[in-house]
């Protein structure tokens, strides 16, 4: 470790797990994902073992190829683990669930539908009574400053607006767990900053359990209650950080020395993993 400091890192938690695993809100137990390729097996996720408490905003941060998206897909039921067990609310995950919300890297909006109808798409698809969700759609669109654009088509919106629509769509069914897979990585840096502020504010209103995938360290620390740092080859979780900042999160938090110390620690942890593997791209 390069950046050693004298202050105790009380925000760094031991990577321990609960005693009664299934009692945790989300429990990822000894989970491994291996893909068979022509050049032998590739371990997309070597071993993941962690629990998530209800109401926590948890980021998985790591370099590309560290398996963080695969890990999220397994929790979301979009991929099956090669071995191990994942439970949400005590129930093992075998397939996508109706009480989950998903946001992907591309906004994946239906181009022929309006903003409003795109937000309601999960409701119609899951055959819920649409009338019961009109108020929630309005509330979410107002919280994300999209209400004035409710009748526009995706093509008429900016990239940041489209991603905001996708977040509203992910939240419309009041999910018990929202999964966001690098939702801002296709946006430019300035829009991305705005989106971080927007998401932090939104979180003060919706209070959801969330798993957020990103390769931006500052984004992860700014938004999360907890940051799990992953490394590639072997793909494992190498640090577990409880972010010691109260909500609501303010933009000024990013100037705080403690914020920068945590970001520095995460960066060092990731690069340490890279360095020991002599990765030329590190």
């Amino acid at each position: 470790m390069n950046a050693m400091t004298d202050t105790p890192r009380d925000w760094l938690q031991p990577t321990s797990v609960a005693v009664d695993r299934d009692a945790s809100y989300v429990s990822v137990q000894a989970t491994r994902k291996t893909y068979a390729t022509r050049n032998g097996d590739v371990h997309a996720v070597e071993r993941a073992d962690f629990d998530i408490d209800e109401g926590d905003f948890v980021s998985l941060v790591g370099p590309s190829g560290c398996g963080k998206s695969t890990l999220m897909s397994m929790i979301g039921g979009l991929e099956t683990p090669t071995s191990g067990r994942i439970t949400v609310g005590g129930t093992p995950i075998a397939a996508p669930r109706r009480d989950f919300g998903y946001v992907f890297q591309d906004a994946t909006l239906l181009p022929w539908k309006t903003v409003f109808d795109n937000v309601l798409f999960p409701i119609r698809t899951q055959k819920r009574p649409v009338a019961d969700y009109l108020g929630e759609a309005e509330r979410l669109l107002k919280l994300t400053d999209l209400w004035a654009f409710r009748d526009k088509r995706p093509a008429e919106l900016s990239g940041g607006m489209r991603q905001r629509v996708a977040i509203c769509r992910g939240l419309i069914n009041d999910p018990r767990l929202l999964m966001m897979d690098e939702p801002f990585s296709a946006l430019d840096a300035i829009t991305r900053d705005d989106m971080n502020l927007m998401l932090a504010q939104l979180w003060d209103q919706v209070h959801k359990t969330a798993i957020f995938i990103t390769h931006s360290i500052r984004e992860a620390v700014y938004l999360s209650d907890r940051v799990l740092v992953m490394n590639a080859r072997p793909s494992r979780i190498v640090a577990d950080i409880r972010v010691p900042f109260a909500r609501p999160r303010r933009a000024e938090m990013q100037e705080d020395p403690l914020f920068n110390e945590i970001c520095g620690f995460v960066r060092d942890t990731i690069h340490e993993g890279h360095g020991s593997r002599q990765d030329p791209t590190a």
Partner: protein, 255 residues
Amino acid sequence: MRAIEPDSAARRIGLPLAFALGTLLLWEAVVRAFGIREVLLPTPSAIGLRLVETFPLLMQHAWPTVWESVAGFTIASVLGVALAALLSASGLMRQMLYPNVVLFQLIPKIALAPLFIVWLGIGFQSRLTFSVFISFFPVVIAALAGLDNVDKSLLRLCRALTASSWQVFASVRLPHALPYVFSGMKIATTFAIIGVIVGEFITSQAGLGYLILFASSQADTSLILAAIVVLCAFGLLFYGAVAWLERWTQKAFGE
């Protein structure tokens, strides 16, 4: 003198119109100047005159051609989209049928027209069936391309939302495929007319194809060309109707 804007409506519509009019004038002038006989090449004005004279006859023969092509086109469109949906939904069906569809597409289908007469007789059935047969392929190929070409991430979203295959088809694949389907249908309008005309050439007692053949036997070149003018007008209307339907559907689906 000020130039007209290159993109103005006056230029977009006026320029091709002026060119066509100029060609007709040149045609008229050349035929008159060289004294070309009417049986060889009538003047545009002679064709126009013949069109007016024989208008009731032309309309009488236009009717079977029109309804057979419209019916053939409609059946071909429905069948084409249905087959494309089947091929897109079932991997087994696709593996089994798609290469054969492509192979069939390569056959010069006009050569098969006499077979349809052998099988279905000399009534409208053979012409209608041949018209369906010939205009069906562009719809299948285009519709299948549209159904297949859906963004993978949209399909992933559908899976995450636990959508059924029918929901994926109805709410994602089909709306996405509509522009493709319509481009196939626009090609099919022309093919459907060709199918009927070829059928009428082979065996018929009515229809514009029959009239053209009849006029040819009478060396009535003006009537041949008058019938072709009617055919063109019909083809244009037909294409326009499909284009209008496309606009209407896009509005309904709100694209």
